[in-house]
Symmetry: C2
Subunit: 403 residues, 2 copies
């Protein structure tokens, strides 16, 4: 009979998806160019030409039976070797193909990593604000997701609350830097402190504690920002990567798990990922996408538009009185709403065709997320709408005598 657990999940529609659907309907009414849709993190710049060239070459100049043939379940060997070499070159860790497992994006990577290092009943800790899909990723393994409340001054880790919540039941800590939705990056200081804390607790409890680092935005870091490579600081670390944002191909679902070579069970965890795949019938990402992406592992799309957009929006919004921690990367920013109820605020913004996402589902009520992966021209055209929205709040405050 129907599985009631999955049935019950259907009702709970994602706020982001609902707002995105509203944006689509509104676009049909007034034209897409007039709707300032800040909801969805779909990259707005094209994939590098080198990826397209390689894809076409694979499809047209190689033996189709070989190109479209089965991939080994851990990923195509040459692809894993190229990715390991790229990580070695860039981050200095001794990655080999044995440390790499090819996945369907970072989502698949996180879901595999979680299954490898937890059993039902274990706890996994993450930090607000956090990506809401961490709930199904963790809870569907049978483990329990615990959320550390945010440090809203900096959106670095709130160590005080973290240490209070930590216990011997925690088998994995899940971080996301550069962060969706806050846009900040964890500093060297933050990561060092986290690593030292986890090492202490490993010694105290006498068991391994894994740091799962979800890094789809790793390549989108703004000038001068401190955003170190997480795995360099902690032995039991598992890096979950996606090419979605760096290469602008989120729909192609391609990424990897890279287990720190310093992790005692590194090769075992990679082998286990292959077994986890069997259980979910996934097997491996598409061969031609693996082969094409391996050729451009060191490249990115032209990501500069995101920093340009961030600077314009940060300048404008803080000028209008919004409180916002300056993003260090990604294509998100995360200002405080000018009223306590961010849902009410985002509803009000719709009047000006500004589609913003209230952050309640990110574990940070009172804030809102803006995904500014769009053309700079459109960002600029949206500024008058923000001004009108801010003016409306000024009037409200004046009427209530707060101004």
């Amino acid at each position: 009979m129907i599985n009631q657990e999955y049935k019950a999940m259907i009702g709970k529609k994602s706020v982001i998806r609902e707002l995105a659907e509203y944006a689509t309907r509104r676009s049909e009414e007034i034209g897409r160019e007039n709707v300032f849709d800040y909801t969805i993190g779909n990259p707005s710049v094209p994939v590098p030409q080198a990826f397209t060239d390689k894809l076409v070459e694979l499809a047209t100049s190689h033996d189709p039976v070989a190109v479209h043939g089965y991939s080994p379940s851990l990923g195509i060997t040459s692809v894993r070797e190229k990715i390991a070499a790229s990580l070695r070159r860039r981050f200095g860790l001794e990655y080999r193909k044995e440390h790499i497992f090819m996945t369907s994006g970072a989502a698949g990577a996180v879901a595999h990593a979680l299954r490898a290092v937890t059993v039902p009943g274990d706890e996994v800790i993450t930090f607000a604000p956090y990506f809401p899909e961490y709930n199904p990723y963790v809870n569907k393994t049978g483990a329990v997701l615990k959320i550390v409340p945010p440090d809203t001054e900096t959106f670095q880790i709130n160590f005080e609350e973290f240490e209070k919540m930590f216990s011997s039941k925690v088998m994995a800590v899940l971080i996301n830097t550069p962060n969706n939705p806050s846009g900040i990056t964890y500093s060297t200081e933050t990561i060092k402190k986290l690593a030292a804390f986890l090492e202490d607790r490993e010694r105290e409890y006498g068991h391994d504690i894994y740091l799962i680092s979800d890094e789809p935005y790793r390549e989108i870091v703004f000038k001068g920002v401190d955003a170190p490579y997480v795995a360099g600081f902690y032995h039991n670390s598992i890096t979950c990567y996606s090419f979605s944002k760096s290469l602008s191909l989120p729909g192609e679902r391609i990424g990897y798990v890279a287990v720190n070579p310093a992790c005692r069970d590194a090769k075992l965890i990679v082998e286990m990922c292959g077994q986890i795949s069997r259980g979910i019938g996934h097997n491996c990402p598409p061969s031609i996408i693996q082969l094409a992406v391996a050729e451009v592992a060191d490249l990115t799309a032209d990501l500069s538009v995101y920093e340009t957009n961030m600077n314009i929006l940060y300048h404008e919004l803080t000028g209008l009185g919004f409180s916002c921690v300056k993003p260090g990367g990604t294509f998100y920013m995360f200002p405080k709403a000018p009223e306590e109820d961010a849902v009410a605020f985002c509803k009000r913004a719709l009047k000006y065709d500004l589609i913003l996402v209230p952050a309640d589902s990110f574990g940070c009520p009172g804030y809102f997320r803006m995904a500014y992966c769009m053309s700079t021209e459109k960002v600029r055209r949206s500024l008058p709408a923000f001004r009108k929205l801010a003016a409306e709040y000024r009037q409200i405050r004046e009427r209530s005598g707060q101004a």
Copy 2:
């Protein structure tokens, strides 16, 4: 800490994979052309040119941001519409896009269907000989896989044993026709009898019983063979399809779940599949592969080589005294080994560089599987090796006075 359940799975290497690895090593010694590798079901004919053309067109002549953008979690709407239309046209059932969920091949389809209609502790029944990966697909949902012993006369369903094993705990029956490994197709009579039995049991137990039909070989059916479309016979049926074999692109991991429009919960099950995907971090198959495959949903690669090969091998092997039910489709055949221990038989075959797979892991000891997806020229060149192998068994029998 490391999940011991997945760790334990690693030790149990697939016999097929081990033999394929042996074939690779042996090829390095004596040349690939001299190793008659009948182990792996990797299609040997090229993908249709129309697929390649469409893939190249999508990569080069469309907006890359749109082509490589996120797919909705149930699959791209236009793709689901095209697949529904193709199924309507071909099989006469009233499929609409609401009945279609895009997956990573048939493996992903079966794994999703199982999770939708069972809960941990339920039973799922399948029929030997069966695809060994059904074990992780079913057991990793928490349900229990029960195997009905084979009817080795016909490899149709052994209804006597099936009815004995059936109980109110069975929520799904998993079939595979045309069948891997036997190569036979379930006849109209078999499917009608199965459907009538399940309808009876639904009435008796007062709950739905789902028929999950795993059909990656649906398009590989030989001349004059009775191989009806399963879903046409039973309302609560879920068709799990892959384009791997029909289009010769197993590595691209693309298929679908098609829930019978006559199933009361059809649309609900499709929506649930989307939720199941969230839990495993899968989300959806690659956008560009979805878009390309939708254009060729009615085409197949040139599959005629498989029937040619089957006829040659069936003629030769039965002539040499092997007992074999004649395949009706796929690119497999499934003869009885000339000694009780098929593992010993397959080991003996290695002497002649014939790589055959003993069927113990398919739930049918004493038989062996041959995947004849190779060139007809190579099939012909392998015949002397079969003759030598058969001669060796004649000598053994003569020596032991059995001949």
